[in-house]
Symmetry: C2
Subunit: 403 residues, 2 copies
């Protein structure tokens, strides 16, 4: 089995078309309505935000997946307005988006999945989004993946797309593609941002959901920009079946691996494009008593303002890693703990090796930074989280997001 990068993003798999248009929802006139369509009825699955203040499109998409038992023809997404905290009118708008898309592509409203991203607590303009959907349906094409990926962006500095072809030992092959948006409000808690992954493998929707959850755990669920889990976080998966390759017991592992590779690239793209980010930071936690402890500590470090600002400044202030590990709630033994910045051991056996600070500083000067904390509990449990540095630009972007 081999997995190789291919072009085409969300429309790389056969049987998929996409479009992205400007409907005037974004104040700056950018693309803001994105459509992904499977030419045949597809198997569909999703993971959603765990936030209790769940947005209207999430409620509607959940209803639709339940009604169809995991089948869909299209995913419609608008940016520029989250349609969250918008009450009955917001629910009506989310349903309208599904109905309008269904009319345009020729399917049932329940066969359309809906997502929104942008400002919370503002009503989405029904007239604008409807007109955008009609226009996007006209532009559906296997070549318009890039426009679709741009149309879901908010403060993202660049679009996130990836696709691979997985060739089985039998010679048969299928493709997996995807697109994502991220930037702020990124924290692992089931689904953590907006993404659409697609495949032309033929797969039962229950198995697709299982594979999606598995692929998310160490990709979308292992990233954080600012510790926030939004009201709208969603990952959709659509399987057109157009390759004719069926996923069964023998090919399931290959499918998950291909799916994970796409999810990982998109997830790392979200972190690299985190608001104001200048560095990709990989946090390893080892020697934990349990996996839960390892992930708890890795998440605390990845969300620590003091760690993220020190890394931004290239300051080898490794003591902050110890301080966060100590307060994280994970079991921790200071005398047996170890801290590494890059490959350099800065703390071990209860004592510092601060004379090595120049080595640590040299590592931190790069754009890809690795830090490791061994909790000293002697366990072989570990976890990895991906995050970015915290910069003055993050503050600037978020201090006047609306205004």
């Amino acid at each position: 089995m081999t997995i190789a990068f291919i072009d085409g993003g969300v429309t790389a798999p056969a049987g998929l078309r996409a479009a992205g248009v400007a409907a005037g929802i974004k104040k700056n006139g950018g693309l803001d309505v994105s459509l992904v369509e499977s030419t045949a009825l597809a198997s569909a699955a999703a993971v959603f935000t765990t936030n209790k203040a769940v947005a209207a499109p999430v409620l509607v998409s959940r209803e639709h997946l339940a009604a169809t038992h995991g089948r869909a023809r299209a995913v419609v997404i608008n940016s520029g307005c989250a349609n969250a905290c918008t009450g009955p009118q917001g629910m009506q708008t989310a349903r309208l988006m599904a109905a309008e898309t269904a009319r345009a592509v020729g399917c049932e409203a329940e066969e359309v999945l809906v997502a929104s991203t942008g400002v919370i607590g503002v009503q989405l303009d029904q007239r604008k989004v409807s007109a955008g959907i009609i226009e996007a349906a006209h532009q559906l094409s296997p070549g318009n993946n890039a426009q679709a990926a741009v149309a879901i962006m908010t403060t993202d500095p660049f679009p996130k797309e990836h696709a691979v072809r997985c060739t089985l030992d039998s010679g048969a092959s299928f493709a997996v593609g995807g697109m994502a948006k991220g930037s702020g409000m990124i924290e692992p808690n089931l689904a953590t941002m907006l993404a659409v992954v697609t495949t032309d493998a033929a797969i039962d929707s229950a198995v697709l959901r299982l594979a999606l959850v598995e692929a998310c755990e160490d990709t979308f669920n292992a990233i954080t920009v600012d510790g926030e889990c939004s009201t709208n976080d969603t990952v959709f998966a659509l399987a057109s079946g157009a390759s004719g390759v069926s996923i069964d017991q023998g090919t399931y592992a290959a499918f998950v691996e291909a799916l994970r590779e796409v999810c990982m690239e998109l997830a790392l793209g979200i972190v690299r494009g985190g608001e104001g980010a200048t560095k990709l930071v990989t946090v390893h936690v080892t020697g934990a008593a349990t996996y839960a402890d390892a992930k708890l500590c890795a998440r605390a470090i990845a969300n620590s303002l003091l760690v993220k600002t020190a890394i931004h400044g290239g300051d080898p202030n490794w003591g902050r890693l110890v301080a966060v590990a100590g307060r994280s709630g994970s079991a921790f033994d200071l005398m047996r703990a170890r801290v590494l910045v890059g490959e350099t051991v800065m703390f071990e056996g209860g004592r510092p090796f601060d004379e090595r600070a120049p080595l640590a500083a040299a590592h931190l000067a790069g754009t890809e930074v690795d830090v490791t904390v061994d909790l000293g509990m002697g366990g072989d449990h570990d976890a990895t989280m991906f995050t970015c540095d915290l910069t003055a630009d993050y503050v600037r972007i978020n201090a006047d997001y609306r205004t």
Copy 2:
């Protein structure tokens, strides 16, 4: 019973002297060794960090309080180096600080409490700190409270001091004073920063500890700058007894109230002086199912980067308050929740009142900001947290703290 502000900070109570000197520990030559001395053996109590990576001075102070059953003659504090993650050598240095102070003021080493603040993982220069202690002991005076308060500062923009006189209905009175340092690594988790509170009331050390814990809960434990709990956080209390007023069942409540007032002023000073802070933010959470839920949600909001940056920018992005409440883990009912910015209801009954955004923006333009989230659970449990806005200056300060 009346409580009135008085001058004098940590030496306002009778029987207390203080000093602050420059010992060359701080690179900039600022005051960095602080001494507070009770002329008679005092009742003493403390609350310490809950961080598992606990610093040497915390370990030594704990030992000393246990050995003396809560008695002390002096508190010695250095800034510029936290003496944390410094192994056996760091323990030796912390013990040396106590021994040197004991020699200088004429008491047992166990009767000295020690604290340090500054960079983690760097050894504290024993020669410098010893010389500083000898110099500080020479300068001990009831009039040197201001120097002592300055000498515990790290990135604090201003010193924090406060004192009150509590006059009982009988006409007898006692004083409570204090000083604190804060800035970064501030998050409520038992003790959360460095503070020394003093009194000339006569009080048993076990009762003093009880009063201190009680006074901390809605003051030092209700503030956060950046969600970090440090390796060194400590609040010390010293009671000289020099006023001759004894704290018993009849006067305990008055004592706690006076102590709380001093702790509250110091705590709010820490938030106002938070790294880069321009606004004091009060977060109220009401309508919670339990007190724990109320505090959990208030803490999540007070630590939310998206909330703190929006407030910094004066952006009435109240939807972020709902999003954080929804992800906080507290029981939450979106349809019965309410969000207020200042006095203005922005969300109620599941729908937004975004047309009121100009009113919210006007409130956010001030330097004292109030936000309220009612979780809609119908409970009468509430909690209040104090925090500051998150600014580009916070990033700048922490990106090059060491270098």
